[in-house]
Each structure stands twice: as structure tokens, then as C-alpha cells.
């Protein structure tokens, strides 16, 4: 016979166990979600979305907004000190590989083994994935994050000016673009093409579109682990020659220090014909307080290069989950991301000026609205997405290449010379980082 006191003890233990299990269930309901994010034109759209989520689920969304100049340092400090502040971090692909390789983040499948990326999501060239074996962002890798901003590079041009000059729209090849630039070049009132030539990331990104269009890439086959350097092969040289020498002739003064703001300013003030600009800029170009040419700028897939094809380089933001927070919080973070990808939030997001990541938006009424004409160009660009080399050393490579490209632009270096020097420095970087067997491809 179990004594009374023992019975009492057992029931007490049982009661406590049941209670704690229930309360654990209740505690598993995370009350707040903390997101580190940057100030940007699409932030208001994102904020509205988080309010929607709060309304639907009751989870309080706390946004920690930092300036773009500084978000990286902030997140770096957070991950290297195992901070528990953030549940989600908005991460630019610039520093993505560094964070992936550093194991600072949680793979999404670890949080929810059943999770798969919905098929209606645009695949931004494997950003968000990381394959440790090939040391590259590849589909064979582990998924760490979801794109929250489907920003891509598009050709943005003055359709009215093209039509006035009798030129076919949209321009199909870079030669077409050059032709238009030459015809309509009228300094100092009107410039044919604007290169975002400032040293570093600006010229690197801006030139990537045309280089890829000519089939000029940095490495031979990084997805398979082949890092033979091809950045100075003939295709790259041809593309860069077209950009830095031919198109540059019809550009505005001071190209060596033109940044995104200046480039958009030239387009928006009606002083320039065309440029490669990111799609996220779309709200500004129709805003009468910002633009002198509202609704006159058209968006198109970036043109083909000789011997190549269209190419649209992606440049977006991925939201990732840091490693150091509790499992409940990780799950809550993933829940938000899952909700974010569904159609209704995506459409709302676009309406408020965000750049969607789901193709379901293409089935909405927004496609017929001229305010969102960038959507058509985005849809057309999907087969041609490409990206920069996504390895932890990419920030360093970009910095080095950005310097040489800038020098070529201001004619301190020759076109071929700048690419050769870049190849040499990339070689040193890769070898120094421990990649085996990297060589520069011989000139064919």
C-alpha cells in the first residue's frame, strides 16, 4: 500500500509536471520579435507589414532601425559577442558569406525540418544558401535565410526620348544602348548614359550587369568549386571596354565619384537618358517632389551583350536567424518569414513601395498599374538572375576590383590592365585564404 504521504507526493509531482508542461506550451508563445533592420525606402512598407502581422498573430514586432552605414558593424558586433538581442537580422548579401561561414546563424531547416521554400518564391541566385564543401552559396547548400527585398538591377531609361528619336524600345543589346546614348547626347543638358563610377562597391555592382551580359564572369564554375579566375578574359575585357570607354564618352562629368544618389538624381531631374539602377528605386522616380519626369522612365531587362545574353544582377537583403537565441524565438522568427512570403502580405508590401520576392504578385492587379511597371521587367528578368561571387572573401575582392575599375574609368589604368591587375590580386586573396589550386585562366 502506498502511504498517504507518498500518494500526496506523487500527485504533487504529477500536478507540477502537468502544470509546467502546459505553461511551457504557453511560454513557447513568444510575445515579441526583435528585428535588426536598416533605414531604407522600403522600410515603411516593411513596417506596415509587421503591423499587419501583429494584428493577425498578436506577436509584438520590435524593429531596431539602424542607418545603412552602420548596420554591418552593428550586426558584426552582435554575432561576434553572441548577443541575444535580435531574433531576425536583415542582412545584406555583401556580408552574407562572412556570417554563414562563421556559423553565426541558424539553418532554417534546423528550426523546422519540414520547411521548404515555396515554389512561388523567386530564386535570387541562391542567396540565402551556403554550401560548406564548395565554400560557396549554392543550391546544394544549407538554407539560412529568406530574401525580404527582391531588389535587382534593371535598365531604366527615358522611353519618351527613345520614341522621339525613333529608336525601338526596349533596347535589346548594349550596342542599341550605345547607339541611343550617342544620338541623344547633348551636354550639358542631356547625357546619354550614367555610370555609377565611384570607387569600390558602386562601380563593381554597376559594371557587373554588363560583364555578365557579355558572359564575362569572375570564376569559371564556383557552384562546382572551380575557382579558376576568369575576370580578365576576353569577354570581360570586351564588356568593360564597352562600358568604360564607349558608353562613358556620353556620360556626365565627374564619373569617378558618381554614387547612387547622383545617378538617380541625373535620371530624375531629366538630365540623363538611361542607366542601370536597382528596382527598389521605383517609388522615387514617379514622386513629383523628387522627379521632374514622373512616369516617363521605363524599366527593362538589362540588355544583351555580344556573345552573351540578358543579365540582371541581384542585390538584395536576406533575413537570417542568429544562432544564440532560444528555440522558441527561432520558431517565432521562422513563422514570421513563412507568413511574409504569402501572397497577401507580398501584394501589400509592393503597394507600399517594397520590392516583392514572390511571383504571386505578378498575378495581382498591380501588374496592370503603371505605378508598378517595374514588376513586368522583374518578371522578364527572372531567367537571367546572376550574382557576384558569394564567398567570405567577396567583400575583399569587391574592394580590390572596385579600386581598379575606378582607375580604369578615370583613365589612370587601361581597360585590360585594370582587369589583369584585379585578377592578380584576386589570386593572392584566394591563395591567402586557403583555397587550393586556384589559378588565373590563360587567355584564350
Amino acid at each position: 500500500m502506498i502511504s498517504k504521504s507518498k500518494k500526496g507526493l506523487i500527485s504533487l509531482v504529477l500536478a507540477v509536471t502537468i502544470l509546467t508542461t502546459f505553461s511551457n506550451f504557453a511560454m513557447a508563445q513568444v510575445k515579441e520579435l526583435h528585428i535588426a533592420i536598416n533605414k531604407s525606402p522600403w522600410l515603411p512598407a516593411f513596417e506596415k507589414l509587421t503591423k499587419m502581422y501583429e494584428g493577425e498573430t498578436g506577436v509584438k514586432m520590435v524593429l531596431h532601425v539602424f542607418p545603412f552605414m552602420g548596420l554591418y558593424e552593428k550586426e558584426l558586433a552582435a554575432v561576434t559577442t553572441a548577443s541575444k538581442t535580435y531574433d531576425l537580422m536583415n542582412m545584406n548579401e555583401i556580408w552574407g558569406p562572412f556570417f554563414y561561414a562563421g556559423r553565426y546563424l541558424t539553418p532554417l531547416k534546423e528550426i523546422d525540418p519540414e520547411f521548404t521554400v515555396p515554389s512561388h518564391l523567386m530564386q535570387f541566385f541562391w542567396e540565402g544558401y551556403w554550401d560548406d564543401k564548395v565554400h560557396y552559396q549554392a543550391p546544394t547548400g544549407v538554407l539560412y535565410g529568406i530574401h525580404v527585398n527582391g531588389n535587382i538591377h534593371l535598365l531604366q531609361y527615358r522611353e519618351d526620348k527613345y520614341k522621339e528619336a525613333g529608336l525601338p524600345t526596349p533596347p535589346e543589346t548594349w550596342d542599341d544602348v550605345l547607339e541611343a546614348a550617342r544620338k541623344l547626347f547633348d551636354p550639358p543638358n542631356f547625357y546619354g548614359y550614367v555610370i555609377r563610377g565611384a570607387r569600390g562597391d558602386p562601380i563593381f555592382y554597376n559594371s557587373m550587369t554588363i560583364r555578365h551580359a557579355y558572359n564575362g564572369y569572375m570564376f569559371r564554375d564556383p557552384l562546382k568549386g572551380d575557382f579558376t579566375i576568369t575576370v580578365n578574359d576576353e569577354k570581360n575585357v570586351e564588356a568593360w571596354e564597352m562600358y568604360a570607354r564607349n558608353l562613358n564618352e556620353y556620360g556626365p562629368p565627374g564619373v569617378g565619384n558618381i554614387g547612387q544618389t547622383e545617378m538617380m538624381g541625373l535620371l530624375a531631374s531629366g538630365r540623363a537618358l538611361q542607366a542601370i539602377v536597382v528596382s527598389a528605386a521605383f517609388p522615387h522616380l514617379d514622386d513629383p517632389e523628387f522627379s521632374a519626369v514622373p512616369f516617363k522612365i521605363q524599366f527593362a531587362v538589362p540588355p544583351k551583350g555580344r556573345g552573351g545574353d540578358h543579365s540582371s544582377t541581384v542585390a538584395g537583403w536576406t533575413m537570417v536567424v542568429p544562432r544564440f537565441i532560444s528555440d522558441e524565438r527561432k520558431k517565432a522568427a521562422l513563422d514570421f518569414l513563412k507568413w511574409f512570403m504569402t501572397q497577401k502580405p507580398q501584394v501589400e508590401y509592393t503597394k507600399m513601395g517594397g520590392v516583392p520576392v514572390s511571383t504571386t504578385v505578378f498575378q495581382s492587379e498591380l501588374m496592370r498599374d503603371p505605378k508598378y511597371r517595374f514588376l513586368k521587367a522583374t518578371q522578364d528578368s527572372i531567367p537571367y538572375f546572376s550574382s557576384m561571387p558569394l564567398i567570405p572573401e567577396c567583400a575583399q575582392i569587391r574592394d580590390v576590383m572596385g579600386l581598379h575599375l575606378n582607375r580604369a574609368l578615370i583613365e589612370e589604368e587601361g581597360v585590360r590592365e585594370s582587369l589583369d591587375k584585379t585578377a592578380q590580386e584576386i589570386l593572392e586573396i584566394m591563395r591567402g585564404a586557403g583555397y587550393k589550386g586556384v589559378t588565373i585562366a590563360p587567355r584564350s
Binding site: 542607418p67 545603412f68 552602420g70 558593424e73 552593428k74 558586433a77 547612387q260 522615387h284 517632389e289 521632374a292
Partner: protein, 279 residues
């Protein structure tokens, strides 16, 4: 008599006003820009239709945190200045007026100088760790502490310089009259160098007001975020909002301008030459 223009006084004044005008031109441009739309900034440099939109957006929309940032900056800069002047004043006087065992004063001065010579970037992560371990991340308190630490070197050297420049006659007189050392410091030395102390205070306040890197690293939310971080947010990835930036610059210069005027007028001048030695 009237009618005779004093050339000796006129020429320097004219030169001064010309220089002042040149120095102020960029700021005049900033003020003008704050009243323009982005389009006007690009296309119409001199004649334009003014608009208040930038001011409204920055301060009167619901989601704007700028008033909060301003308050944070004010509190942090003010408190750190008070602490700095107090601590640095004491130390500078002590160092200036006495001999130290083992040349500790030279060591102190040198150490303090090294602190100032290091690029802030190198200290960013260590300071972050300190704040994290004290659980004071995202608080104004830790910002005040850090600003005090990094700006004290300047104040110590400045005030020491002013004390060094001061002949000891006044203090010795007071001392002989029976004042304690602290009393001499507080009632004689500090007031005499008040214009120097004021200049130091203004500069130290400004250093705290305009500091960016540590504020960025430490602050997380509007609880402690300062102006400089807030202004940086106007430099967005795709575009810099020139108009709002000019507005922020204009508005945020005002508190420190007013403070400087006040501090110079009321604290700076009064007591300097008026001390007569009762001999």
C-alpha cells in the same frame, strides 16, 4: 568727435565680417536647402519655392523619433560635459600645481593622451563588450560614461594649459589668507580661467554631441539613440535625402548654438579681470 571714422577700428572689423560671411556661406546654403524639395535642390539652386515638408516629415510625423534623439543627445552631451569639466578641472589643477611622486603626473598625462590617439574604430568592439557585460547596452548612462572617458584627455590638457598660464600670485594670496587648496581651486583658479573653462566646455559638449561611432555601436533603440545615428539614417542605401539632411543639420545646430551663446555670456567673461588683489 562725431564724423571722424576711426580707421584703425574699421579695417579689422571689416575684414572680420568678410571672413565671417565666407565661413557662413555653406551654412546659409544648408538652411536654404532645408526648405527645398529634392527636385528643387537639383535644379534650382538660388531661386526656388520654399516648402516646409522636410521639417514636417522630420519632426511632426508620428513615427519620427528625431525629437527623442535630440533629447538623448542633449542629456548625454550635457552630463558628460559636466562630469568631464569637474573631473578634468580637479586633475588639471592638481597636476599643474604640485609635484607628484614618481612623475605620476607625467604618466597620467601620457596615458590620457594615448587614449586620445587611438582610432575609435579599434575601441569599438571592446567598448561594446564592456557595455554588454555591465548589461548597460542601449542606455544613456553607458554613453555618458564612455564619452566622459574619451573626452577627458582633451579637457585635462586644455585646463592644465590654462592653469599653467596663470601666475600663481592670486592663488598664493588667497592661500595665505587661509583658504584651503580646494577653496583656492574653486574660488580663485577656476573663475580666473573661466573663459578657458568655458571654451573647453563648449568643445567637450560638441565632441559629445557630434560623436558617431560609439553611439552607433551602443544604441539599439530610441531609448538611447542619439542624433548622429539618427542623421546617418537619412543616408539611405539608394539615396541620400539631401533636404532632410539639411533640415536635421539646421535644427540640430540650434541647441548647441544657444548653449554656447548662453555659456559665454553668463559664465565666460564676468570674473576674469575683476579680481583685485587686496593689497
Amino acid at each position: 568727435m562725431t564724423g571722424r571714422i576711426n580707421l584703425k577700428k574699421l579695417v579689422p572689423s571689416t575684414i572680420f565680417f568678410i571672413l565671417l560671411a565666407i565661413l557662413s556661406l555653406p551654412f546659409v546654403y544648408i538652411i536654404m536647402t532645408s526648405f527645398k524639395t529634392h527636385l528643387d535642390i537639383m535644379l534650382r539652386p538660388i531661386l526656388f519655392t520654399p516648402t516646409l515638408k522636410n521639417y514636417v516629415d522630420l519632426f511632426f510625423t508620428q513615427t519620427s523619433n528625431f525629437p527623442r534623439y535630440m533629447l538623448n543627445s542633449l542629456i548625454v552631451a550635457l552630463f558628460s560635459t559636466v562630469f568631464i569639466i569637474g573631473i578634468a578641472g580637479l586633475s588639471a589643477y592638481g597636476i599643474s600645481r604640485s609635484e607628484f611622486v614618481w612623475h605620476l603626473d607625467k604618466i597620467l598625462l601620457g596615458w590620457v593622451l594615448f587614449l586620445r590617439m587611438v582610432f575609435p574604430v579599434a575601441f569599438a568592439l571592446p567598448f561594446y563588450k564592456i557595455a554588454q557585460s555591465l548589461n548597460l547596452l542601449d542606455t544613456k548612462i553607458i554613453l555618458i560614461v564612455f564619452y566622459t572617458t574619451i573626452n577627458i584627455p582633451f579637457a585635462v590638457w586644455m585646463l592644465k594649459g590654462f592653469f599653467d598660464q596663470l601666475p600663481r600670485a592670486y592663488e598664493e594670496a588667497a592661500f595665505i589668507d587661509g583658504c584651503s587648496i580646494f577653496g583656492v581651486f574653486w574660488r580663485v583658479a577656476m573663475p580666473i580661467i573661466s573663459s578657458g573653462a568655458v571654451a573647453t566646455a563648449i568643445l567637450v559638449f560638441m565632441l559629445g554631441w557630434n560623436e558617431f561611432l560609439f553611439a552607433l555601436i551602443i544604441t539599439e533603440s530610441s531609448r538611447s539613440m542619439t542624433l548622429t545615428v539618427g542623421i546617418a539614417g537619412l543616408c539611405q542605401q539608394y539615396m541620400v535625402e539631401w533636404g532632410k539632411m539639411a533640415t536635421a543639420a539646421t535644427i540640430f545646430t540650434i541647441p548647441i548654438f544657444v548653449l554656447s551663446v548662453f555659456v559665454q555670456d553668463y559664465l565666460g567673461k564676468g570674473l576674469t579681470m575683476g579680481i583685485g588683489i587686496k593689497e
